[in-house]
Amino acid sequence: MTDGPLIDIRGVRHAYRTAGGPLPVLDGLDVAVADGGFTAVVGPSGCGKSTLTRLVAGLLIPDAGEVRVHGQPVTGPRSNVGMAFQNPVLLEWRTILDNVLLPLEIVRTGMTKAEGTDRARALLALVGLEGFEDKRPSELSGGMRQRASLCRALIHRPEVLILDEPFGALDAFTREDLWQIMHRVKEREPFTGVLITHDLRESIFLADRVVVLSGRPARTQYVLDVPDTGPRDLDHLYTPEAAEMLAVLRRQIEIAQGRAPAEEHAAAAAPEPVPGPPAPGRQGAVTGAVP
């Protein structure tokens, strides 16, 4: 294990080539995730959050800047990554168990077939899907499918787990269930995680660090360290500390959206908050987000 962060993104800039010329999506992105850390990335919609996951997964090589995992520059896909998306993308023609086993057909892990199956069953039990191994995805609810997708992302013991709004399409109660399950999973199956989300409560409930991105092209605008980590219950979201963190993040999002002018804000150690692109006519329209 190295001393530096396990995932280290530095000064990354990237533009998509479109018919109407280059579209810059990332412009000065810095994200560092410690070994075993869990970083949430929030930001206005369309700001390039998903591009960030593709960088870490090695599916996209940035125009400039560095993406390192374990100190090694990422030059292409690496099998030590697990991914889960908002769309669970389970294969309809496979059973839940066979869906979870899919990565083992690609990645060499040294696991025998029987070990892989045992591990898949254990993971499914861990997320509460015991007894659903032989069902088809179409027989499961949205939340259950998402849980199966999480098991698939973890089956090959990836070092890095990338979650791209995995709970975004679920109803509020199912989502909160899955938050609890995530804590259980993290305890039993340690991973280094990046969670893309636009749910601020989700970010402070699950992650130990929250990175706020500016509007497009995205740069790292603000970093919040969450003091309490590890498993906890939902009551933790209703403490004064949580309310204060949410207020800080809310305000940073407004800055990122260009709806609030940037100003000094009492907060945890963080890089200088910088103003987002101004939105004409909307300046000063700050609404109080503090409960």
Binding site: R54, A57, G58, L59, G76, P77, R78, S79, V81, M83, F85, N87, V89, L91, E92, W93, L102, P103, E105, I106, V107, R136, S138, R152, H156, I162
Partner: protein, 252 residues
């Protein structure tokens, strides 16, 4: 397969035949205007040997055309599904080709490869039936959500693996949907050639000889035999679909 699943369609066919017989009888049509099911039985009795050999001719050439259509259509669909440029380039050509009525192509092909009756017939069956397959495969592949690809790509899977494990099985329901259309089209193609081409073989030629000899019950008997073959082939495709893409059927 329950008894109900077999009995209901059989009963429907029986009712259809009774209504047909009743219509012809009520209208007092002579059999040169419209043959009735009872006229068909002697036709089959007299020519059953011809029906077997001609039916076999039609069947194998149709299946051969279909097999070619599946191979070529799938390949073309893959090319168009994976490459935007190829899709843009080939679509207008393909649509134009499909819009040409195949009845007009038949005499051209018959002259082009004169005397090669089997080849001509298979060629027309193929030409008429590959279009739905190519279009459905290309749409199935091009509408594959990028996340499906990313799941495997992020693990370092090759394009071939992604195709085999995800793109191909995911396209199967669309493929079989198209194949059901193509089966019927291929029969039309085979018969067009069999009817038009001189000294032809197959049920189409039998139909043509019925016409020449004013044997109207024979002509109707050929039509029913064609319908029967069409039904058989269709259900073969349905059986294949159940085997390979049964997962897509949600039992609704």
């Amino acid at each position: 397969m329950t008894a109900r699943k077999v009995l209901v369609p059989l009963l429907a066919i029986a009712i259809f035949l009774v209504l047909w017989e009743a219509l012809v009888w009520a209208m007092g049509w002579p059999n040169y205007k419209m043959a009735s099911p009872s006229d068909l039985i002697p036709a089959y009795g007299r020519y059953w040997e011809l029906f077997l050999t001609m039916g076999w001719q039609t069947l194998w050439r149709t299946v051969a055309g279909l097999v070619l259509a599946v191979i070529f259509g799938t390949a073309l669909g893959m090319v168009m599904g994976f490459s935007r440029t190829m899709r843009d380039a080939l679509y207008p050509l393909l649509v134009g080709f499909n819009a040409v009525p195949k009845a007009t192509v038949v005499p051209i092909v018959a002259l082009l490869f004169v005397g090669q009756h089997d080849f001509n017939t298979v060629l027309i069956a193929f030409m008429i039936s590959f279009f739905p397959i190519a279009v459905s495969v290309s749409i199935g592949l091009s509408t594959l959500e990028p996340e499906y690809r990313d799941i495997l790509r992020s693990l370092g899977a090759s394009q071939a693996t992604i195709f085999r494990k995800i793109a191909l099985p995911k396209t199967l329901p669309e493929f079989f949907g198209a194949l059901k259309v193509s089966v019927t089209l291929a029969f039309i193609g085979t018969n067009l050639m069999e009817i038009v081409s001189p000294h032809g073989r197959g049920l189409g030629a039998l139909f043509d000889s019925g016409k020449t000899n004013s044997d109207y019950p024979l002509m109707f008997a050929v039509l029913i035999a064609l319908a029967f073959l069409g039904i058989v082939l269709y259900y073969v495709v349905v059986a294949l679909e159940r085997t390979f893409a049964g997962w897509a059927d949600r039992g609704v």
